[in-house]
């Protein structure tokens, strides 16, 4: 059984993420203890809400240090929704806030004219024929469930795992080494989401 540290840093309801991972047989430790995070081989950074307070909470709680130490030890990280946005260099949500800097890019609002929040089922577009481990075994054009008002820009093309279209193309999933992230909610994306979480839990990389 894979043990997963689910970061509990006071940002939104993480129950659905915990249940989704447990249904796949993972042992989920919902934790705010940096030591537990540092010693885990799988770490999930969830998040709903605003960027700046979430970023501050990660730092103040010591979870950021635990997270970085887990990554140094080879742990695999999955950022979801706001947790995905936190992986980038910075966010422009209500002023500029620096992010964790694990992925290149900045989090910015949708262009004018795009309906916000972007809520609902939208298609993933994967570019290269070589499927990465994050979206392995998923058919092309798979629909997943989104709820968000901001999305990353200027992402390193080498890190892009999937695009999505809402007021133009944006990066819906990215991966750089053992840092994985999805703008959408795999825990709400039915069979497609289950497969993504299985990929995250699996030993293959």
């Amino acid at each position: 059984m894979t043990r997963v540290a689910l970061l509990d840093y006071g940002v939104g309801n993480v129950g659905s993420v915990r249940r989704a991972l447990e249904r796949l047989g993972a042992e989920v430790v919902q934790t705010s203890d940096p030591g537990v995070v540092a010693s885990s081989s799988r770490v999930v950074l969830p998040g709903v809400g605003a960027f700046a307070p979430a970023r501050r909470s990660l730092e103040v709680s010591g979870l950021e240090a635990g997270l970085r130490s887990a990554l140094d030890g080879g742990a695999r990280l999955l950022g979801l929704c706001l947790g995905f946005q936190l992986l980038f260099d910075a966010s422009e949500e209500f002023g500029t806030t620096p992010g964790l800097g694990l992925l290149r890019g900045r989090v910015a609002p949708f262009p004018p004219g795009a309906r916000v929040p972007h809520v609902g089922w939208n298609r993933l577009e994967t570019e290269s024929a070589a499927e990465g481990p994050l979206l392995a075994r998923l058919p092309r054009g798979t629909y997943v469930y989104f709820v968000h008002s901001f999305r990353p820009e200027g992402v390193d093309p080498a890190d892009v795992a999937a695009w999505c279209d809402h007021g133009g193309r944006f990066v819906a999933a990215a991966r750089r080494g053992n840092v994985w992230g999805c703008q959408f909610h795999p825990e709400k994306s039915s069979a497609a989401g289950r497969r993504i979480l299985e990929n995250f839990l699996s030993e293959a990389a």
Binding site: N13, S16, A114, G120, G193
Partner: protein, 476 residues
């Protein structure tokens, strides 16, 4: 924008139970919302909506418990409503795992509630349910499940709740609701022109052709229905395929497991049909994705006819449907097996199976080779036929020819045996082997039905036949 139009089954609940029973196959508990939720997700529902129709304060805890149980099994978003009167009510439901809450009557009485909910939980969590009615040329808002009509114009109410932070409008036409006559498109257009937030169309869906106009003409972003899904009139997949054919973007509904099937360049996969009781191979046919999905959803054999280029349901005209016990996929994933309980012959010639020997049976081959030894006898086992007829008699099925015969009584069954006997006699001297086999099959089937009508057990005939065999041996 390429957001999929959502298809949302709605479940009315009271006291933690589904109010109207669900007519799914093999549902252990037709009133269990958790089991229903699982089924609908597997069928491709994009979202579920639970409305507490009792919605008394005493029951609030029951609803919260239900939400938690549903959240445990569901991996699609779900909305909960009915009797939400305060930020605390909504908070308890969201904390238990609901993705959104709906407010209705309470918002009309206290529009500030919408503002408070949006500020506390974010617009994406707040759905305002609007029950509207036609009043002459106008559309007005009603409350208390349509029993009280207000003077509030639909358009101005939709605009107001949008300004207050509603993330979505669930618009139900109280006139169309329950009529199965289609959505009220004029009402949808009025609401559409008053807001930019998503609108869920509800009330009136009765046929597959009703859904696309709600989106294409009415401007809805999602369609919601209750009874047509619960009564199994249509599956979620059927509604989605109808929308897709009309050009509406939907998340394809592929029943769980079917995504593993590999179709050929023409989009087809061969299907072997096997009698689940006897193990006999009945048919080799073809299916496209829709036929396969329909088979899984309806538990009745569906195929794609390559000659007629159309989807067909086995038994559509003959009544000889095949109840599907199991659908399996081959190890290479490029062939499918249906294990079925046939209600009648599989072959259009009237034979039980589509396959007939084209070479001598093993016994004859052995005899010809001069190494004769007792081989399998070319025989006929009526066991499966007795089993199917007995099953129909025990639990009648709509559209079953056997049940129609049994309902008409023994005289009708007896008359049919007489007719089929004459037809068999005629076929013996005027028709080819296939024709004769078909008439004999008809005769045997009707004899079995006659026995069922009389309540004469198969064993009585078997005993009589055995007794005769004994007599003959003694004569030797």
């Amino acid at each position: 924008m390429s957001l999929a139009v959502r298809v949302i089954p709605c479940l009315d609940v009271a006291g933690g139970r589904v109010v109207k029973g669900l007519k799914f196959e093999n549902l252990r508990d037709a009133g269990d919302p958790v089991e229903a939720a699982r089924r609908y997700e597997a069928e491709g529902a994009d979202e579920l909506c639970f409305l507490d129709v009792a919605a008394s304060n005493e029951e609030r805890g029951t609803l919260v418990g239900l939400v938690a149980r549903v959240a445990d099994v569901l991996s699609i978003p779900f909305t909960v409503g009915g009797g939400v009167r305060s930020v605390e009510d909504a908070g308890a439901l969201l904390q238990a795992g609901a993705d959104r809450v709906t407010v209705n009557t309470a918002a009309v009485a206290d529009p500030g509630l919408v503002t408070r909910l949006a500020e506390r939980f974010g617009s994406q969590c707040v759905v305002v349910a609007v029950d509207a009615k036609r009043l002459g040329e106008r559309f007005v808002v009603s409350t208390h499940g349509g029993r009280r009509i207000t003077e509030i114009e639909l358009a101005s109410w939709v605009a107001e709740v949008t300004t207050r932070g509603a993330g979505e409008i669930l618009l139900t036409s109280m006139d169309a609701d329950g009529t199965l006559a289609g959505f009220d498109l004029a009402m949808l257009k009025v609401a559409r022109s008053a807001t930019s937030v998503p609108i869920v169309a509800s009330g009136g869906a009765g046929t597959l052709t009703h859904f696309a106009p709600a989106v294409l003409e009415g401007g809805a972003d999602a369609v919601l229905a209750a009874s047509i899904f619960h009564d199994r009139t249509f599956s979620v997949g059927q509604v989605k395929r109808a929308l897709a054919k009309a050009g509406v973007p939907v998340r394809p509904a592929v029943p769980a497991g079917l995504e593993r099937v590999v179709f050929d360049a023409k989009g087809l996969v061969p299907v072997v049909v096997r009698d689940e009781r006897s193990g006999d191979v009945l048919t080799l046919a073809w299916a496209n994705e829709e036929a396969l999905a329909l088979t899984v959803e309806t538990r009745l054999s569906h195929f794609w006819s390559r000659s007629r280029r159309e989807l067909w349901k086995k038994g559509e005209t003959s009544g000889n449907v095949q109840r599907v016990v199991r659908v399996s996929v081959d190890c290479d994933r490029d062939a499918v097996l249906y294990d079925v309980e046939p209600a009648g012959p599989a072959c259009h010639t009237g034979a039980a199976t589509c396959f007939t020997p084209i070479e001598a049976t093993p016994a004859r081959v052995a005899a010809a080779a001069g190494t004769a030894r007792p081989g399998p006898v070319d025989t006929l086992d009526l066991g499966p036929l007795f089993a199917v007829v007995a099953a129909r008699k025990a639990s009648p099925e709509p559209g079953s020819y056997t049940n129609r015969l049994l309902d008409k009584g023994i005289e009708k069954c007896a008359q049919k045996v007489g007719e089929e006997g004459v037809e068999t006699a005629l076929a013996a001297v005027t028709r080819d082997d296939a024709g004769l086999a078909a008439e004999i099959a008809d005769l045997m089937y009707h004899v079995v039905v006659l026995m069922a009508a009389r309540g004469l057990p198969a064993g009585a005939v078997a005993a009589e036949l055995a007794a005769r065999r004994g007599t003959r041996r003694e004569e030797k």
